[in-house]
Amino acid sequence: MMNDRKTMKVDAIRNGTVIDHIPAGRGLRVLEILESEEDQQKDLITIGLNLISGAYGRKDIIKIENRELTVNEVNQIALIAPEATLNIIRDFEVTEKKTVELPEKIEGLMHCPNPNCVTSDETIHTRLLRVSRTPVRLRCAYCERVFNVEEMKLVGISGKYEE
């Protein structure tokens, strides 16, 4: 029954993106990322929390209609849900399946939690370097400390990802 419901949800989108396999409990943080893009208020976003998933036990799932994610958003999602998959839907069909990839260098997206870090002055853009993927651990390029991603806060609307 559960499985049927999940399938229905995915199929119900005409065009857009389904973010699947978000670890249970992180769906709302992913939602925060999606809402931080300024002009996206018109999007219809639906979220399923704590759904049963064979491989992951419990998972969250998010559907966004009429929009494909930007590189910036995908990278942010990789930070908090590195196991997530993206299903691109066109005309009710899954046309593409992607896994998110945590970039080696993440600029301006998250605050360094070290209060003695030079980037605690918020006019200075942060730069974090990937130390490990699972769990996600990042080194601040400035103060050189390593943090788990759970200890870090998103920068918010002004966050920019640069190659």
Binding site: N116, V118, A141, E144, V146
Partner: protein, 300 residues
């Protein structure tokens, strides 16, 4: 290499180049000429010893120095941003030396200016010129860097000097002993890194357990500010004193190093022994900083 910000950025070959250049300068085989060059020394946080060492190094090479020590009465106190301050000094100098209380300040500055930047200490993070002079001192006294048995004693938790030194030596197959009171142990993130790099280390509280096996004993000061209770401080302070009596059965090649200033952690009766090396270590600092300034200014 454009800047010297962190030991983490240096390759083994670059470290070797710094050491061999310092050695050649000390022996008089190399005499770089920095006449007409200006070093801007920006000590946002005052540090007499490091500041004077850099100034001596630049002057011995024929260069000039402009200095700021502390921020009292400066544009910084009026609210000028760090980026603006260094962009101005950029116009006056050929190389910038910076000491700042915020971690990462030197790297940030290196991204704001067009001249080479040397990190002279950024908060609890890095102090690479100290690490390089420590390496030079170890190399000079032991004729090698590899395979040494090294104990670090004192404040291993907040001591930026020991953090960068451990990092710098991690590639040289050392055997480390970390000797400290339980409240001032080496931070976990550093021990995790050492484990990942398969570096052999042990932690302990008593230097007498290991002293006779050591090639190098690196002593650091335990600061009163680190203790909430002054009684705890007094107890710890007196338990971590290196005295002449402790050195009775040590290896003949043992050298005792200390980044200075010391308070009482090495008793003065050690100064006359052949094991004391901390004053020569300070002198080595000038040769190493001469090497660093010359290399970064493209004169080597």
């Amino acid at each position: 290499m454009n800047h010297l910000i962190s030991m983490r950025d240096l390759t083994k070959a670059e470290i070797q180049q710094f050491i061999s250049t310092a050695a050649k300068i000390e022996k008089g085989e190399l005499q770089p000429d920095l006449t007409g060059r200006v070093m801007g020394a920006l000590f946002f946080e005052p540090s007499t010893r490091t500041h004077l060492s850099f100034e001596t190094a630049m002057k011995r090479l024929g260069g000039e120095v402009i200095s700021m020590s502390g921020t009292k009465g400066t544009s910084v106190e009026k609210g000028e941003t760090l980026a603006d301050t260094v962009k101005v000094i950029n116009q006056y100098s050929d190389i910038i030396v910076i000491r700042h209380a915020l971690e990462g300040a030197a790297r940030y500055v290196s991204e704001q200016v067009t001249v080479p930047v040397v990190n002279a200490g950024d908060g609890a993070n890095q102090h690479p010129t100290q690490s390089l002079l420590d390496l030079y001192s170890i190399y000079k006294t032991q004729n090698r860097l590899t395979g040494l048995t090294i104990a670090l004693i004192g404040d291993l938790k907040y001591g930026r000097t020991v953090h960068s030194l451990v990092h710098a030596l991690a590639h040289t197959q050392p055997k480390f002993y970390f000797i400290s009171p339980p409240s001032l142990q080496m931070p976990r993130y550093i021990k995790d890194e050492l484990r990942e790099m398969k570096v052999d280390f042990e932690e302990g509280e008593h230097v007498e357990d290991v002293i006779n096996q050591l090639d190098i004993l690196y002593v650091t000061r335990i600061q009163r500010e680190r203790f909430a209770d002054p009684v705890d401080y007094e107890r710890v302070k007196n338990a971590y004193v290196i005295s002449r009596a402790l050195l009775q059965n040590v290896k003949p090649n043992l050298k005792v190093l200390h980044p200075l200033p010391r308070v009482n952690e090495i008793s003065t009766d050690v100064d006359q022994t052949k094991y004391a090396y901390y004053f020569q270590q300070a002198k080595n600092g000038v040769f190493m900083r001469q090497a660093i300034l010359s290399i970064l200014l493209g004169e080597i």
